[in-house]
Amino acid sequence: MSGRESSRRFSAALGFLVALVMCAGGAQASGSPIPHGTLELISDNQWIAIGHPFYLGLHFQLEKGWHIYWVNPGDSGEPPRVTWQLPPGLSPGAIEWPAPRRFGTSSVVDFGYQNDVTLIVPVHAESSVAAQPLAHLGAEIKVLVCREMCIPGKTQLSLTLPIKLQPPAPDVRTRELFAAARKDLPRPAPQNWKISVDDATDSFVLAANLGAQIMQASFFPLAEAQIDNAAPQILQPHPSGFQLTLRKSDRLLKPIERLKGVLVLSGNHSYLIDMPVSKRGAQKNNSSSGIDEMQSSREGPQK
C-alpha cells in the first residue's frame, strides 16, 4: 500500500467517523431517526393511573418539504402503520387522525402532513396493569416519507412510564404537543347543519346549509377511489352555506351508499362528514359518524 493511499484511507475513515458522530448527535436531539425526520413516542400523562384512560402520541418532526400520509393517502403513498407492544392490561385504540392537507399536481394528489405532526392514540388501562411498578411501552412504526421521491422507514420506539394508583397528572413537557394535535382533529358536524350528498352522474354534490356564507371548503374522502383526488373541487357559496362539487373517480364502478370524509372550512376548522348518498333532493344532517367509523375504515388491514 502506498503512503498516499493509506493517508486517503485514513481521511476517508475519519470522515466516516465524523459523519457517524454527527448522525448520532442529530438523532439524540428528539426521538428516533426516520427518513428525513425524527419520531418520538410520548404520553399525555406523567404516569399510568390504573383505571384511567390516557393518550400516547407519535410525534413526527420532518425536514422541510417532506411529508407523511393521512389514513387515506390519496393517489399514492401509504399511512404510517403501528404495531404496539404493550404490557397486559393496556389496550390501544385506533389513531385519531388530524385533518390532512393536499400535496400534489394537476394529475396526482395525495393527503398528509408535513413539518410537525402528532398522531394520538387512546389507551385503556385496566386494573390488571397494577402487577408491575413500571410499564415498558413499545411500538414498531412503518412509515413512508416522501418529497419528490419516497423512502420507507421502520423504527422501534419505547417509553417507560410508572404505574400508580393515584389519579393521573398531565405531563407538562408534552402538553403543547397534545393540545396542538387535539386542535386539529375533525369534529362531528354540528347538529343544526343541514348537509346532503347527491349522486349526479359524474360527480357528488355536497350541499351544506350552515346559516353562514362559506368562501372556502375542501373535502377529504376517507375511502379510496371514490372521488377524483386531483380534480378541482368546485365551490359555489350562497348566503347560508355552499355547494361543493366533487368529481367521481374513474375507478368507482358501483354506486356508493355513503360518503364519508373530512370537510375543512376556512380557518382550518374541520368536521367529520358521513352522509347517505341520494339520487336526488336534500336530506337532513344525521351525521352521527364520530371518529370511530373513520378509524375502523382502515385499522383492519393495518394489523
Binding site: 400535496f103 396526482v108 423512502i151 420507507p152 377511489a225 374513474d250
Partner: protein
C-alpha cells in the same frame, strides 16, 4: 401580428391542451391507442396487438414499491409466466427527464438485463403522453386489456399496498386474477382498485 404567427400560437395552444381533452382510459371501455419507442429501439403500437391480451406496467426503478416487486423477482415471474401464455407485456416509464426513474434507452436495457426482466418491451414515455392517456397515478400501476381492446382491469398490482417484500406471498395478485378469469371466459371480479405506489414522476411532479 402576422397571420402565420397567430396560427402557430393557436396550434401551440391546441397541442398544450390536447392531453386534457382526451378522455383517459376507463375500465369497460376501449383502451386508448398509442405508439411508443421501446428501449430496444423498436416502435410499438397498441392497436397492432388486437387479438391478444396486453398488460401495461408503470415503472420507476427508484420507487420502493417497484423495488419490492423486482427485488423479490415477483414482477419478472409475472412477466415470464404471462408472456409465455402469449400475453403482450409493456413496461412503461413515464418519468420526465431529471425526475426519479427517468432512464435512457441504454440504461433501461442494462436494467432489464441486470434484473432478468423480460417484458415484451419497455416503452419510453418521457413526456408522459401514455401516462396521461391512461391517467397513470403510480408505479407500479397495472392495466389489463383484452383481445377486443377493452380495458378489463386498472389499478394496483395486488392487495398489499406496502413496500414489504414479505407481503408478496400473502397477496392476491389482481393482474393474474384478471387474466385467469378473463381467459376462462368468466367475468373479472375485481376490475378497478386504487393503484398503490409512488406517484408517477411527470414533469410537474413535486411529491
Amino acid at each position: 401580428m402576422k397571420r402565420s404567427t397567430l396560427y402557430s400560437m393557436l396550434v401551440a395552444v391546441v397541442i398544450c391542451t390536447a392531453p386534457l381533452l382526451v378522455a383517459a382510459a376507463k375500465v369497460g371501455e376501449t383502451a386508448p391507442d398509442f405508439t411508443a419507442t421501446a428501449s430496444n429501439g423498436k416502435t410499438f403500437r397498441l392497436q397492432d396487438y388486437r387479438g391478444k391480451y396486453v398488460v401495461l406496467e408503470w415503472h420507476n426503478n427508484g420507487c420502493p414499491y417497484v423495488g419490492k416487486h423486482y427485488k423479490s423477482g415477483n414482477m419478472q415471474r409475472l412477466q415470464k409466466h404471462w408472456t409465455g401464455q402469449s400475453v403482450v407485456w409493456f413496461t412503461i416509464i413515464s418519468s420526465a427527464p431529471g425526475k426519479q426513474g427517468y432512464v435512457t434507452a441504454s440504461e433501461e436495457n442494462e436494467y432489464l438485463t441486470k434484473m432478468q426482466a423480460t417484458p415484451t418491451a419497455a416503452l419510453l414515455d418521457p413526456v408522459g403522453e401514455i401516462g396521461h392517456l391512461y391517467d397513470a397515478k403510480t408505479s407500479p400501476q397495472m392495466v389489463v386489456i383484452n383481445p377486443q381492446g377493452i380495458v378489463i382491469y386498472d389499478g394496483a398490482i395486488d392487495d398489499k399496498p406496502t413496500t414489504d417484500l414479505d407481503d408478496i406471498s400473502r397477496a392476491t395478485n389482481y393482474v393474474s386474477r384478471a387474466l385467469e378469469q378473463a381467459m376462462a371466459g368468466q367475468q373479472v371480479q375485481t376490475r378497478a382498485t386504487r393503484p398503490y405506489g409512488c406517484s408517477v414522476k411527470y414533469s410537474d411532479s413535486t411529491h
